[in-house]
């Protein structure tokens, strides 16, 4: 599958007919910019539409028509005759409407839009869809106060002071110019420029202990995004565990014994990698480097020791 399939199908032809009609007359350049496709693709689509028509029953067609001179000589598209799609159009498919409604559900609360308006829009989308089961459902995101502060800071270009804790590290105060919130696997991340470290950084929202806007000036230029990677680790994992680690993978998984695969993952911080691998519940094993492998072993031994000590104390035992 690829995005190019979307613009290659008849979808562009259908949309273009409505668009040109609504606009009265447009240049090929304007249409290409509007749809985000190359100008040649628009010309092809125009030619295709205007070679087509509705069968008249006698083996011939009543065809679409445009001002052909304007098209050929000035690259201007203007419709003069539409034998079909005059007052109707192809509605959203159930899947398309589902994607819109689900996307809206996920982000509505982050926009600060009036909930009533959002609900009305959702209904409008349902009405604009051809019948069919709603095939996608999503749970709305809780929007903590922290996210609201970040959202407002992005809009108002305010620098934030954030108390942030990295795994295996104490809490640190950072001055951050936030540029976007990122939603990934159910977690919300803040992306922004760390003004003390002069680099773009990503922060997990749920690791932020405290947050407040400051009066500090917004930086004139934001630093380039870079990621310091200490090295890579080789991991052997079940296919499901490999999928969980795929965000960090630097190589495609290679099958080792039918059920398990080998892959390389980035070591951006030892503590984070140990956590990610441990979250696979034993379905992922660090093969190399040996030091990281030993650290993983130690991680499990220590966790088991803590669990035992806790169980010994606990009356419910």
């Amino acid at each position: 599958m690829s995005a190019s399939r979307v613009e290659r199908g008849i979808g562009l032809l259908l949309s273009l007919i409505q668009y040109v009609t609504a606009s009265g007359s447009v240049t090929v350049q304007e249409a290409a910019a509007h749809f985000g496709v190359p100008e040649q693709r628009i010309r092809e689509a125009v030619e295709r539409v205007f070679m087509s028509g509705v069968p008249d029953g006698a083996g011939d067609f009543i065809r679409f028509d445009i001002d052909f001179d304007a098209f050929e000589q000035h690259d201007v598209i203007s419709v003069t005759m539409r034998p079909a799609f005059e007052d109707e159009t192809v509605r959203l498919s159930a899947r398309e409407a589902s994607a819109l409604i689900a996307g809206l559900t996920l982000v509505a609360d982050y926009t600060g839009a009036d909930p009533g308006r959002v609900a009305a829009l959702r209904e409008k989308l349902r009405r604009a869809a051809s019948q069919g089961a709603e095939t996608v459902a999503v749970d709305g995101l809780a929007v903590p106060r922290t996210a609201q502060i970040v959202r407002d800071a992005i809009r108002q270009r305010q620098v934030l002071a954030i108390d942030y804790r990295k795994p295996g590290d104490g809490s640190q105060r950072r001055r951050v110019a936030p540029v976007r919130l990122e939603l990934k696997e159910g977690q919300v991340y803040v992306e922004g420029a760390d003004l003390d470290r002069q680099g773009m950084r990503t922060y997990r929202l749920d690791r932020i202990e405290a947050i407040e806007p400051t009066d500090e000036a917004w930086p004139e230029a934001l630093p380039q995004r870079e990621r310091t990677v200490a090295g890579t680790a080789q991991v052997v994992a079940t296919r499901a565990a490999a999928a969980m680690l795929s965000d960090y993978a630097t190589s495609d998984p290679v099958s080792v014994d039918g059920e398990r695969v080998r892959l390389d993952i980035e070591v951006w911080s030892e503590a984070s990698v140990l956590r990610a691998v441990a979250s696979c519940g034993g379905d992922a094993v660090i093969v190399a480097p040996a030091s990281l492998r030993r650290a993983m072993h130690r991680f499990a031994v220590e966790a088991l020791r803590t669990a035992e000590a806790d169980a010994a104390q606990s009356p419910q035992g």
Binding site: A3, S4, V6, E7, G9, I10, G11, L14, I17, Q18, Y19, A22, H34, F35, G36, V37, R48, G53, P55, G57, F61, P83, A84, D87, E88, T89, L92, E96, S98, L100, A102, G103, L104, L106, A133, T135, V136, A137, R155, R180, L181, E182, K184, E185, L222, E259, A278, G281, G282, V285, I286, R293, H297, A300, V301, E302, A303, T306, D310, A311
Partner: protein, 356 residues
Amino acid sequence: MTRIEAEERQFSLLLALVDTSTGFTKHELFERVAGYQGQPVGDALERMFERDKDALREHGIVIDVVQPPGDDSNHEARYRVLDGILGDPAELQFDAEERDLLDLALRVWHEGGLTEEAQRAALKLRADPEFRGGLPLERTPGRMTDHAPADVAAPATASILQARQRPRESAFQALKRAADRGREVVFDYLKPGERTPRARTVQPWATVLFRGRWMLVGHDLGAEDTRTFLMQRIVSPVRDRAPKRPFEVPADAAAAALAKLEEIWAGAAVGVHVVPGSDADIRLRHRRDTTEEDGVLVVHHADRHLIADELAGFGSDVSVAWPEEQRALVRQRLERIRDAHADDDAAGEQAEGSAA
């Protein structure tokens, strides 16, 4: 056969079907549609017609077949566009605030399972000259391109939140296509907590995103019941096949599955001790619905094996206070991790661990 010809032919087929209220027989279509005209009637033409119907379906244009009563032959069946596929263009026009929200809603799928639908929807919405939002049509899903933080003058709402929900792309697409066509799917599934994948045959109904995880909801033919599958744990390619009998997707399948998951989440909890101020402490407190009772964090979840994986990931920052079963699940995981990482030169640590 070039794609240009196919596109033209499909458009021509659509125009013919849109223009008729009573429908055309296949024979009539073969005579009238540019691209079918003049082709010898036979298997090749039949296959072309089937492919074109599938292509139109990708755009949400479902072709309905009306069989005259008492006639089982294919000859008199009439083809037409299913009712409700076409509507008033005004239905797809939105005011400025709505357009902003839609732009944002579409960009959520910037990367991940619904990218193609979002692009198709954006294409339809752009029939309105005022609508400029949504995803670029020529983006390949999974590739980040619009990273330009340096020129954020006054970010539109759309650039504030970006979603990267990444299911296993190939399985997701295969499941959706099969669902659209009313076909059954067969795949190997590694159930949470199990070691070996098992083949499942499922009538696919809907996809659900719950707490950041994509799931397939459907009727499991082996279990003879509704089941929910984590997409991440579908470990084989998804194959599809014609069902023995056509199946109906319940209209509320997606919403019902989501409600069921919420119910499970509300009812399932683990009590944990956390090291104060640790990563586990901060993250579990921020987790949805977490409460604190007598120094124990009460953490909700939708599956005991998945929460056991997550808790194992926190290592010694966390220990399970109750229930005993959950404690055992986490312990088993840590023991497997320990044993899988035990080497000869780590023997000292191992002895130390078992002595503790």
